[in-house]
Amino acid sequence: MDWSRILVNVAGEIFAPTTAAYALAAIGLNVHFGLTGLLNFGQAGFMLLGAYGFAISTIAGWPLWAAVLVAIACAAAFGLLLGIPTLKLRGDYLAIVTIAAAEIVRLVGRSTALTELTGASSGLRGNSYKDTFQDASPFPDGTFALGPFEYAMNASNSWWVRIVGWSVVALACLLVWLLIRSPWGRVLKGIREDEDAVRSLGKNVYSYKMQALVLGGVIGAVAGIIYVLPRAVQPDSMGRPMTFFIWTILLLGGAATVFGPVLGSIIFWVSLMLIKSVMRAGVPESIMRTEQIEQFGWIIVGVTLMLLVIFRPQGILGDKKELAIDVR
């Protein structure tokens, strides 16, 4: 068994672009669920919209900044559209509507009627929309090795996308840190606890919930851009499983905390990679084939996370006392 190669692979997950994208999406979901108590089960829909918005406008020849704005605008519009009919209802209705809305985005995206625009089920090839992002890099082309980690400087799964991705994660953490300690965040927490009480104190609950939904959705859309930069826009890879991974990451790290989503994402992807690489190297082909190991990895991760959530429901960084008072 080649332990050094496995360890490098596993450690590489700590700062992989996918880890950053999921951390960012979980930060967005944290604004929804951790701060406001909104049950958004359609975070993947926000990400997919962001990815489409960015890729399609870039392909149409728009500059990088405009494409990012388009992605943000798409998510904001989607949030408004979702929020207007549902935010006056009880929380569980929002869950149903958001999961359906995310599916609608995916199904519309993969429908053959839109092949020209979205590439239907085969999606949009990465090379068709990566240029503006890669051209914005200040680094020379080629590859660069930092210790055992060797990646391309700018192309695809590069150092450049890692630097930008994690910078955005850091900015989002700063944003949430500022908001969580502000009076705005206090109102959101109040809404999470009891809407009517906050209403009786003269706050416009509907408007606050809408702000939270849009803000979290916009963070999700930016996560979608980072997610597709090292790969392609594939509607079917951004469906319900993605939403559930984001939820797992958030609960694992600890909802309503600043760094919980980041830590959750790192642990999630690192442990998945660890289990898969160790099994690929250690389990003979006669017992389990490679593709079965892939499936088995998910099972192990699922069981581990179930145990974690059962025995440590507040997540790794959450406050046990806060949760113990009123588990709802």
């Binding site: 944003l175 502000s182 009076p183 109102v187 606890e193 009480a197 209403r199 949760l323 008072i325 009123d326």
Partner: protein, 333 residues
């Protein structure tokens, strides 16, 4: 009471007059008001007209006309299901009426959202206490404050813009917590407080916005007697400061002790109005709600000896017989 005042003293008409203590002034104001349901008051802060609320075929509230005197403590009493809480919900924008209009300080509040009702100065508490459990006591209090610009998403990102106001309201909150004897619990989660303390917290939180009128839905339910005393004190202190109080309560001792005016509801209607002593002597109110022995303290040990129990039973029997005789007479007619 008016004997304490100089001869020829005229009760001040201005709402926040400090020349006389709150109770005396209100009593003087209400002295010449007739004791009939829906009677106009000299200085009404809330005026409601033809307010009805139907749930399916059931009429929960059917109030023809109601006025609440400014600066007074008004009690809303009545049997369970009389529509007291529903009326509260309607007045505060938590429920939409089937018909009717009402105004607060001369401005119409019909169809106005709950949040805007609160911002206009009418703040309520709930029968089932709504402490925000997973927030600390001080956070609960700060949430009650108004004019905190940091509650705007964009201002929130620049702390210098709201830190000064935050300091002001924190001081105000701490003063209130001392008054309500919750200062020791300042940084505890509200969910860890006892039921009575949550009632106190909810009331203190409502006062953070310095409301002109507070609506308390059963402030004494589940509160121990020692705490009841201090709650009563707080409510009376509100009146001294010129705040109008309207509360729903089943505890007749409290109603008699602190209210200036009592409104009795039954089956959605207002059946009686007047000062507490008069209303509680009203035969209709006794029949509908209080019962013949409402004045008797059931916790009094003297009641436990056989003699008095027999006497009470005998009285009840006599009442029933009399009622039956009444019915018979009705029937033969």
């Amino acid at each position: 009471m008016s004997a304490d005042l100089p001869r020829g003293h005229v009760p001040a008409a201005t709402p926040h007059a400090t020349t006389a203590s709150g109770r005396d002034r209100v009593t003087a104001d209400l002295a010449h008001v007739a004791h009939t349901p829906g009677v106009p008051k000299p200085d009404a802060i809330v005026v409601a007209d033809q307010v009805t609320r139907h749930f399916g075929g059931m009429t929960a509230v059917d109030v023809g006309h109601l006025e609440v005197q400014r600066g007074a403590i008004t009690a809303l009493i009545g049997p369970n299901g009389a529509g007291k809480t529903t009326l509260f919900n309607l007045l505060t924008g938590f429920d939409k009426p089937s018909t009717g209009t009402w105004s607060f300080e001369g401005r119409s509040l019909s169809g106005v959202s709950a949040a805007r009702v609160a911002r206009s100065g009418m703040v309520r508490t709930f029968q089932l206490t709504k402490a925000l459990s997973r927030m600390t006591v001080i956070e609960n209090m700060l949430l009650g404050a108004t004019k905190q610009s940091g509650e705007n998403l964009f201002t929130a990102l620049v702390p210098p813009l709201w830190k000064a106001r935050e300091k002001e309201i924190t001081e105000q909150a701490e003063e209130l917590l001392v008054r309500f004897k919750l200062d020791a619990k300042r940084d505890d989660y509200a969910g860890s407080l006892s039921g009575g303390q949550r009632k106190l917290l909810e009331m203190a939180r409502a006062l953070m916005s310095k409301p002109t009128m507070v609506m308390l839905d059963e402030p004494m339910a589940g509160v121990n007697p020692a705490l009841t005393q201090s709650l009563l004190g707080h409510i009376q202190a509100l009146r001294e400061e010129g705040t109008t109080v309207l509360f729903v309560e089943h505890d007749m001792h409290m109603v008699r002790h602190i209210s200036d005016w009592v409104v009795v509801m039954a089956e959605g209607r207002i059946v009686a109005e007047g000062p507490p002593e008069d209303v509680m002597a009203d035969q209709a109110v006794i029949d509908a709600y209080l019962g013949a022995h409402h004045d008797t303290d059931l916790g009094d040990d003297a009641l436990l000896d056989d003699g008095s129990i027999e006497q009470l039973q005998a009285e009840e029997q006599a009442n029933l017989a009399a009622a039956a005789a009444d019915d018979d007479r009705e029937g033969t007619r």
